[in-house]
Symmetry: C2
Subunit: 343 residues, 2 copies
Amino acid sequence: MVRTNRSPRLIDVAHASGVSIATASRALSGTPGVSDSVAEKVRQAARELGYVANLHARSLASGSTATIGLVVHEIGDPYFSEIASGVLSLATEHGRTVQICHTGRDPEAEVEQVRSLVANRVGAILIAGSGFVDASVEAPMRFEVQRYAEAGGRVAVVGRHHLGVDSVLPDNRPGGRAVAEHILGLGHRRIVVVSGTLELTTVADRLEGVRDALSAAGLDAGDVPVLEGPFTREGGRECVRRMLADHPRTTAVIALNDDMAIGCLSQLRSSGVSVPGQVSVSGFDDVAVAQDLSPGLTTVRLPMAEMGARALTLALKEPGSRARRQRVPAELVVRDSTGPAAQ
Amino acid sequence: MVRTNRSPRLIDVAHASGVSIATASRALSGTPGVSDSVAEKVRQAARELGYVANLHARSLASGSTATIGLVVHEIGDPYFSEIASGVLSLATEHGRTVQICHTGRDPEAEVEQVRSLVANRVGAILIAGSGFVDASVEAPMRFEVQRYAEAGGRVAVVGRHHLGVDSVLPDNRPGGRAVAEHILGLGHRRIVVVSGTLELTTVADRLEGVRDALSAAGLDAGDVPVLEGPFTREGGRECVRRMLADHPRTTAVIALNDDMAIGCLSQLRSSGVSVPGQVSVSGFDDVAVAQDLSPGLTTVRLPMAEMGARALTLALKEPGSRARRQRVPAELVVRDSTGPAAQ
DNA sequence: CTCCTCTACGAAAGCGCTTACGTAAGCGTT
DNA sequence: AACGCTTACGTAAGCGCTTTCGTAGAGGAG
């Protein structure tokens, strides 16, 4: 029975090294109960045959997988692709493969994707991206995640609370506070916040931080308009247009992520407003390109790749009795897009 | 034998709907040979039980997978993340999952990743990113890919020739020619090309196009310095520093990708050189952020997401008798970073 | 020398699914 | 009425691995 042109199986390795397939399996997967000499013989045979275990067979038999699932909103978005980069790098080190899903920012698609990852019996699920303030929107997701976790699945989230699982949480609120303090410290008082939809917890948290700073400076947070738009570059452009129309005397724009900030810069430039001469602009996230913009974007740095890696680390660890939380510090990075308030 | 807290299996669905597991399997996977009424009954039962097929069992039994593997150099890089975005979106529509590997631009890691995808028995492999001019570097990859393809695997590549499989090839050379013609048309003659390593075919092709245009304009291509550096923003900065030192009278920089162009803009700005007043800069790729830079980057648009989607489409199709090639047009996009040559 | 305990290994039972093959029933021919 | 053909379904043999359980042999204790 010659199987030409097929990849060798465990049984081929077993035959070649003169042991049973049970022993071969143990030798190759490092399970104890095999003498060193036999184990080495088996490994040698495997190498010579070019044997690679069939993952599906292994998963089916063992009931667990080396694949980990990563859910992001949009992989084309630098915020998420940098997180993914961190996850991928670490996963590769651990010999694990990563299956990425993106949801197009649709909460229903998100639940759908998680369900499909569960169905695929992935070993762990990582969920990146903001949750929703509204608990009822969050409920199906929470349900799905909990069920998976209770069945022994490992889950970790980044930048998302309230899911009752291990999480890596950036200091959104302190970050918001820091950037607002910076703006205030430059003398700005006619400020506008450019924000993604307030339904996102990330947005809400950052905004909260901004308000903390405003109150601390004795301002009424109600005096600072919050312009809401899509959490994208186009959203930033749109908000700046509204700002120029409705709040023409504004001297500083606090955008709640870099994407929007980039859109703001773009629109201000096309509208002939100088930055930071007439209007200062700040962002949030510090995506890679932020430092190369003109002017360089003042923003709050979040170590995205590291956050991804830490989430993976959490998911790989033994589950704790309760959900762990890792805070990730947010660091203000001052560049050229902010300057003293024009008089 | 009650299996509490475990997901239902095919046999549970079969029992619930009063058929054999073979019929249940056929009904759920759409294999012909089941009457409509029975099929509907089975699907109904599956829905009620919340049944989802175990992918591993299915793959093991059928010998094929719904997973497709995508190899990129660096998922954090917009060029690749936009391709990945296209692949993911289309894959989701097809009910397929995508496993992404990134290689950190290391040719050996690349082969390693492909090997591991093969081991995982993925249904198709997509490889994005430039190949190497040097055939001997390319050989192991070619070998691996061919072996997989011969064993019935489906492979498609984007932006890479010489692998002997279906490919989606951007018009790098015509694109290079177009952007160089644009620069020449603006009156520039003291031009510098800022380039990634010449070992990459992508770089070589684009450069070829640039030279075509130079020759056509009656210039000696040898007169135009080619500054080589890493194919990244930092590489762009570095090359500009060299340019300012060695070729101070340059009026135009043709960067061979947007990343480098962004680095060029950044360095020129910090060096106090105005763009496009003193020096014009062009890029290549048209990553999403290019339009929002200041000045907006003149570049050559490649529809990355579409390229990814097309590669997937090729891989999903029945294999042809010979490798198919799809050319993707490159379109010059003129923005504000290029202007008339200063006298 | 016997009995017991370990250790190293083999036999074999699945993991949950697909699919080749077998068969019974229905239908049209002659 | 006998025959073949088609359709709809069931039976059972795997897919390639892990893991439980059983056992032979080595070694120590009495």
